[in-house]
Each structure stands twice: as C-alpha cells, then as structure tokens.
Amino acid sequence: MTGVIFMDTLRRSWRTVLWWSLGVGSITALQIVAIPDANAIRQIGELLESMPPAMLQLFGAGSDMSFYSTPEGYLSLQFFGFILLVFAIYGIFAGLNITINEEDRGIMDVVLSLPTPRWQVVVERFAAYTVNVIVIVLVTFLFLWGGLLVTPALQVNMQRMVEGTINIVPGTLLTVAITMLLGVTVRRRGAAMTLAFVFVLGSYFLDTIGRSASESVINQVRAISFFAYYNGENVIKNGLSLFDMTVLLGATVIALVLSVFIFQRRDIGV
C-alpha cells in the first residue's frame, strides 16, 4: 500500500531525528552565544587576516578576509563552513538505512516477501529521509535564530541566514542518495559505509585543497566535489545559487534513479 513504508520509516526514525536535531542545534546555538559582541568578531577577523590564507582555506575560508570581520562572515566560517560535513554524517547513516542495513541483516527478505515493489521501498524511504533532513535543518535554523535573538550584539541579515540554512539540504540529500546507491551496488554494509565516508571526506578535502591551490589541476578537478556546489560562504554573501542547487539536486535524482534501477534488477542478499 502506498505511503506505508514512508510513514513507517518516519515512525521508526523520529528518535534519531530528535537527537540529531538537538545535537546539531546545540552546536549551532553555542557558536553564536559564545561570541560576546560584534567587536569580538572584528578582532577575530583581524586575527584571521594575519594568518596564512592557504591555511585558512584548508578550513573552508575564502579569499576575502575582511568578510570574516562581519557577523555574517564569522558565521559563514564558523558554522556554515563545516556544518554540511556534520549533516553528511547523518546522510551516510540515513542512506545505509534505505536498503543495505536490512539487506545485510537479512530483514529485506521479509520486507520484500510482502506485496511491496522494490522501487517503492527505495523511493518511499528516500522520501522519508528527505523529510527527516528537512526537519533537522529546520530545527537547526530555529536554534540559530534563537541564538541570534539572545545575542542582540550580532546583527545579521536573516534572509541570508535562511538561505544559508536551506543550502544545507541539497548537499545532505546527495550524501543520502550516494550512500544508498553505494549500498545497492556494492551489497555489503561495511564497504558501502567506507566508500560513503571516502566520498564525503574526499569531496571536502578536494574542495578545500582545490580552493587554496588556484593555479593547480586540483582547482579544476574541484568541480567534481559536491562541496564545490555547496559553497556556504558564497550563499551568505550573495544568496542561493540556482545553478549550484540544481547540480546537487540533479545528482541526487540521478543517484536515486540509478539506485531504483539497480535494486529492481539484482538479487537480494547474495
């Protein structure tokens, strides 16, 4: 029956969503309330300007150091710069839950002995985890907003904060989809998880190293890293990039379609 797997996945994952929301939300709020005032941010910005740019870029900083003296710049580096990495970890665990965890434990035999098409298992679970990601992102934003409310010294452009938060969703969904694709392809949980971490960390370092080495080949290869299309700092500066979001969501849809295609055709649990 349509929607049963979707609802069941939501029902079974709400506790995890709650803990992730509280965890990521707390990190977010702490990043903000730990800053006493705008003056402190200016001082941090000046300190950053004195550091070697290449080193800062390894931690996700762009080339415009004066930007980090502003509250938006501070948040783009201290929060939006790394938060996708945190969400990607959730994405990996969610992606594993779509097929490979149950297949690895032999539960998939029971699931697929019921009148449920294989594509429905993949699509409905992916849809449920999409909702979960949106919920965690939403709660994260609420903590961000709450943190800003209790820190009146930090005056930021709220629209940019909303856009920066929305920008987390496509990259996280891509991680879910890629992990799911790895699960249906390699058929072993451990291998799929390892490859997913290699994908996320490899993408992160490819992007940061590529950015700091503007003249090298790595800078051109950087385009294959999904972090290159996340670019949190740019979103805080200039707003959401339709192109970047389309690339990430397009890749997500391709991974989803491929997962359905492969899962539909192959043996289960072999």
Partner: protein, 312 residues
C-alpha cells in the same frame, strides 16, 4: 489430489559462482491443497528454490510459476496471496512484536484480526516484547504469525519448526493440517524427517542442487527396501545368503536373522527354503533411512555381498 499446480518450475537453475550450481534444472510441481515437503541437508538448494519463487533472486535459466502466475513478472500479485517464513528469520530488533505485526497488516491489508489473535494465542506468542528480547523459538512464532495471519493461498515455510519446543511443534502441525483442510497449499522445507513424515503428502529430495526424487511419503518409504526379520527353528543358515540378490546388512541373533532386502522376496526365500521358518516379519524403512540411501556415498540398494554380523 487436485490437478492444479500451485508451484511449477521448468529447468530452474541458479549459480552463485561460475560453474557451481546452487540449483540445477529443477522441474517441480506442487499441487493445490497439498503439503509438500522439500527435504535436503544444508546447502542442498532448498532456500535458493524458495528465494527464486519469491523473486528475491533471479534464475540464470528456467522459469517458475506460482499460483499460475509468472514468478518474476507477477511477483506482486503472487506475494498478495502468499505467506513466507524465512529459514533464518531476522526482524527489526527495536520493534516490539505487535509493531511488526501492525506493519505487516498495514502493508498487506485485509488481515483477519481474529485469526491473527488465535494464532498468537495458540502458538503462545508474547507480542509485547521487543524483537531483540525474543528467543529463537519466540522469534520463529512471530514469523509464523506474520506468514499465516493473512490466510494466504500458499504458505512457504523454510524450516518452520527450527527452535520451537515440541509442544509448539505439535500445535503448528495441527494448524498446518487445518490450513490443508481449507484447501490451501503448504510448501515447507525441512531437514527434519519425522516432521515431513508426519505432515506432508509428498516429498521432494534435493541434493547438491539436484532434485533426486519426488514421491508420496508413503511411496518413498515402501518402494526402495524393507527390513526383514526371519525366525528359524534351528540355527540361521548364514552361508546360504551369499550372493542372494538384494540382501544386505545381515545380522544374526540366536535363531533370528535380520536383513535389509531390496527387490523381490523370492530369491531370499529360495535361499533359506530348506530350513524350517517359524516366523517372518517385514518392516518399512524410516524416512531417515530412505533419506540416507539417497544421500549415502555407498548406495546400499545395490546387490552387495552380505556382511554378516553375529550377536554374542
């Protein structure tokens, strides 16, 4: 017996590694309303057959129909009418038994709640425990309720009594008999010969991916050989038995001769005919002996020189 085949396979073949067949050219017909026992040791191909019928794995060659429908193309329609208990039942550890049942009800729809409650009660399942708290037997009970609660036309049970205590086994046998009485079909794999002997109408014996034979349980026990006990008035004429066709496993105790006889009685009676025979008794082999005959490296049905064992 009904003439409609509920399960039919034609040259069904599956190889997991190149050249090593898990199942080879399986041609099988399971008829409507029967309990069909699928016997074989671990690795014989029983579970592979079941997973092919459920479209969990795809054949390399051949074709299967279940309930008159193509096992691959019509798998969803088939699964609506089928209940399945896997050999190794794994479920969601964090869910309680009732949640598992509710999930199945939501996916299946149209489950008879009364019948489900009856099954829970009769099998003695505590549906309030988490799956991780269940013993192997209790997990099996939950799996049986999941498989049977929708009153499916076809029940596929892979080693259904694994881990069940003898009392629950008896209850299950009773339930299976009721299912059969309702005209529904049961396909059960097992390596428990007594279980098959008690419950099944026909048996298929599988070895190394090959179907060795399909027989009625009765026929299987009578066609091959029998144990013969002859009581003589005087000493047993052991020397007369040398070279008698079909005689093997000869043992002597006082004036009593016990042997295994394959084929006709006549050569044996002629061989000992000059002695006064007090009594002759014949005994069908147990299914286990038949099973071992199929599986044994040395085929004991061959006419071999009798080896005499004399009890002291």
């Amino acid at each position: 017996m009904a003439t409609t085949a509920v399960i039919q396979t034609e040259n069904l073949t599956k190889a997991y590694t190149r050249g090593k067949y898990a199942l080879e050219n399986l041609n099988l017909r399971v008829m409507e309303g029967e309990i069909f026992g699928y016997l074989g040791p671990n690795g014989a191909g029983k579970t592979t057959t079941i997973r092919l019928l459920l479209d969990l794995i795809r054949p390399d060659m051949g074709h299967a129909t279940v309930l008159g429908m193509d096992a691959q193309k019509d798998t969803l329609k088939i699964r609506r009418k089928l209940g399945y208990l896997p050999g190794e039942l794994n479920l969601w550890d964090n869910m309680i038994g009732k949640q598992v049942l509710d999930y199945v009800i939501r996916v299946r729809g149209g489950v008879d709640a009364n019948y489900m409650r009856q099954l829970i009660e009769r099998l003695g399942l505590d549906a309030k425990l988490k799956v991780r708290q269940y013993s192997t037997g209790n997990k099996r009970k939950l799996g049986l309720v999941v498989a049977m609660m929708s009153k499916p036309e076809l029940l596929i049970l892979d080693e259904p009594t694994n881990g069940l205590d003898p009392l629950v086994q008896q209850t299950l046998y009773q339930i299976l008999a009721e299912v059969k009485a309702e005209g529904r079909t049961i396909f059960m794999s097992s390596h428990n010969l007594a279980e098959v002997q008690t419950n099944c109408d026909r048996v298929g014996i599988l070895r190394n991916g090959l179907l060795k034979t399909v027989e009625s349980v009765h026929q299987l026990r009578t066609t091959d050989f029998q144990w013969v006990t002859i009581r003589f008035r005087n000493a047993v004429p052991v020397s007369h038995l040398a070279g008698v066709p079909g005689v093997s496993d000869v043992s002597v105790h006082d004036n009593t001769l016990r042997l295994r006889l394959a084929g006709d009685f006549d050569p044996l009676l002629r061989a000992v005919g000059d002695q006064y025979i007090v009594d002759i008794d014949t005994e069908e082999p147990s299914l286990e002996e038949v099973f071992l005959t199929f599986y044994g490296e040395n085929n004991k049905q061959k006419n071999i020189e009798p080896k005499v064992e004399v009890a002291k």
